[in-house]
Structure formats: structure tokens, C-alpha cells
Symmetry: C2
Subunit: 197 residues, 2 copies
């Protein structure tokens, strides 16, 4: 391998990112090395900036740059609704839809018997505390429609034990979805939950 070792090391580090392999990491690094001033140096600075300032919100688990994230700090969003999501990526996805105006709670994963993830490994105790302290009226469970996601949803519903209304995202045909490409389970769920037209 003729690449000098500093560049090799950078390629190896980039190849560890999700969605990049050795080949795409090489391409990305070559792209950056050819644009040292305009892209590589600014990217390095930005990464250092984020590494120095990013932290988990003490309340909801979102990433932010302060003790409390912008959503938790925004008093307009304290509307008595908490949306429970598995991870920060899901929180961002919810925010992109722009419909939800309450606050979030990031669990950090789902309960999993196989991976030995119990309630104490997730931020479930913190959720129960928040429901008690923040006057939460509704907990919206926006968890994956997988076995682990639904197990987690049921566990949380049991643990809340009527202290707040509990809802979950509707299941059905995705907007723009063609029936032909949908799995049987989704079609069955959409049919069961059909609405009068």
C-alpha cells in the first residue's frame, strides 16, 4: 500500500463509520485530501467543535450543546405530551415531520431478552420520574413495530399504570405506498384499522 500511514489511519477510522466500508472510506479520504483547505481542515475543526461541546440532554437524552437540549428548554413545548422514542435518530425523524409540538424522551434502545437489555439499561426510570414531575397528560409511544419495540411499549404502559394517557403511532399504509409492495402484516393492520371514507 503506497498511501502514507497518516492517510491510511484516516481511511481506517472513516471505514468504521456506519454506511462506509474500506472502499468508500478511501474515496471519501481521497476527495478530502484533494480539498485540504476547502473541506478537510474545516471538517476537522467542526468535528473538534462538536466533540468538545456536544452532550446528552440531562432530561430527555437528546443531543445538544447545553445541560438541557433546545426542545426541553423551550417552554412552549411543555404542553403535557411526551413522545417516547428509541434513539436520537428517531427524535430527529419525528421533528422533521413537524407535527409534534410536545417534548421527547429518548430511551437509548429497546428492551431485549437476547441482548440482556433490561429497563434499568434504558432511560425508563427517568421517564417515570418525568411523568410524575412534569405534569404529563399523554405519553405517545413512537417505538419500532418490532417484537422488541412492542415489548418495550407494553412494559412502559404497564409501568405508567394509568398515571397518564398512553397512545402509540397508528399503523397502516405509508403515504405514497403501493399495496403491491407492502408486507402482509402492514396490509392486515391497515385493514383492521380502516376508517369510514
Amino acid at each position: 500500500m503506497s498511501a502514507p500511514s497518516d492517510i491510511d489511519t484516516l481511511i481506517e477510522m472513516m471505514a468504521r463509520l456506519p454506511g462506509l466500508g474500506p472502499r468508500s472510506a478511501r474515496r471519501a479520504v481521497l476527495h478530502l485530501v484533494a480539498r485540504r483547505e476547502s473541506q478537510l481542515a474545516p471538517l476537522a475543526r467542526q468535528m473538534q467543535q462538536v466533540a468538545a461541546t456536544a452532550r446528552e440532554c440531562a432530561r430527555c437524552g437528546n443531543v445538544g450543546t447545553g445541560e438541557i437540549c433546545p426542545i426541553c428548554a423551550d417552554s412552549a413545548r411543555g404542553n403535557g405530551q411526551i413522545c417516547v422514542v428509541e434513539d436520537v435518530a428517531d427524535l430527529w425523524a419525528m421533528e422533521r415531520s413537524g407535527v409534534f409540538k410536545g417534548r421527547y424522551h429518548v430511551l437509548g434502545g429497546t428492551l431485549s431478552a437476547l441482548d440482556a437489555v433490561g429497563p434499568e439499561d434504558l432511560r425508563i426510570p427517568q421517564l417515570l420520574e418525568r411523568v410524575a414531575e412534569e405534569g404529563v397528560q399523554e405519553v405517545i409511544l413512537a417505538l419500532s413495530a418490532t417484537v422488541d419495540g412492542q415489548t418495550t411499549a407494553h412494559y412502559i404502559a404497564d409501568a405508567l399504570d394509568g398515571r397518564a394517557a398512553i397512545s402509540s403511532l397508528a399503523q397502516g399504509v405509508p403515504v405514497g405506498g403501493e399495496l403491491d409492495y407492502l408486507d402482509d402484516g402492514t396490509i392486515a393492520a391497515a385493514l383492521t384499522a380502516r376508517k369510514s371514507f
Copy 2:
């Protein structure tokens, strides 16, 4: 968008890398933010290191950390052969095969009438100088089998005008390739260049 602006900026920068889009950049940045100490900070340092030290080899155009790249500096590789490649990625690909023991010359692209790339925009004059100065016996043209690649190959062959032997990579069936999946041109080239068994 709830992500704080520093993280947003980092996502935008990452999304500009080849092979990454907005969605995969978000995933990669979330992965890094969750591993600030173990991955994000070291990656930022490594990028800064490469940004500060990487430079183009003054002789062949490879990237290295010195005035002259390790291959040009290695006297064992001055065997009178120069392999001409389009870019550094191609040089690395040649090096991975481990067969070529001479030196390289990176053109920085191919001649292109459409994109108005002429010989002076590539490192073709430097190649002619090197052939005169370094006692090169053979120039191996390892250029793409595209119209622009082959135009460039013919231009270089004309410009060298017999001052060195000129060869090009063989065309044929790739190792492990199945005929059924090969394009007609490759099969025709492999048949024309058939060898006695």
C-alpha cells in the same frame, strides 16, 4: 430540526463526501456523537494531522507527507518503468495488486474535449520531462477503457514519439468474471486477444 446547529453543520459537511447523502451523513454523525471520546475526537485529530501534512508528490502526483512520495523516494522502484494512471485512487488500486514494481505518474484526469481538458491541464508535460530525465525504458498506460481514457493514451503515445517502449493493460475477461454478465465489448476484446491454451 431539533439538532443543534453545530451538529447540523457537521452533518451538512459530511453529506458532501462522495458516497454519503444527507441520511447516511446523519447516521454517521449520530454514531460519532454517541462515541465522542473514542471516535469523534480521534477522527478530528487525524483529519487535522492529514490536513496539515498531506501534499502532492512533486514528481509523480501521488499524495504523501513529504516533497517526494515514498514510491518516488524508494530507489528500488527506479527500474525504468513508469505506470501512467488517471488519479491517486487508480495508483492505490495498482499498488494493492502488488505486481508493479516501478514508479507511477498521476495525470490528474483524462483529456476531454467536452470538459475542455487539454494536455497542459494534466501532468502530461511533466511525464515527458520525466521520461527524458529518469532514463525510463517503458511507459505502461493504465488508463480507463473509456473514450477519454483511450484518447489520452493515444495522445501520450504520440507525444512520447518512440522515446520509450509503450504498453497498455490487457483487456479481457476479469478474473472470477462470468461471461453471461460481461458486456459485448469485453467479450469481443477477450476473443480478439485470445491466447493458445
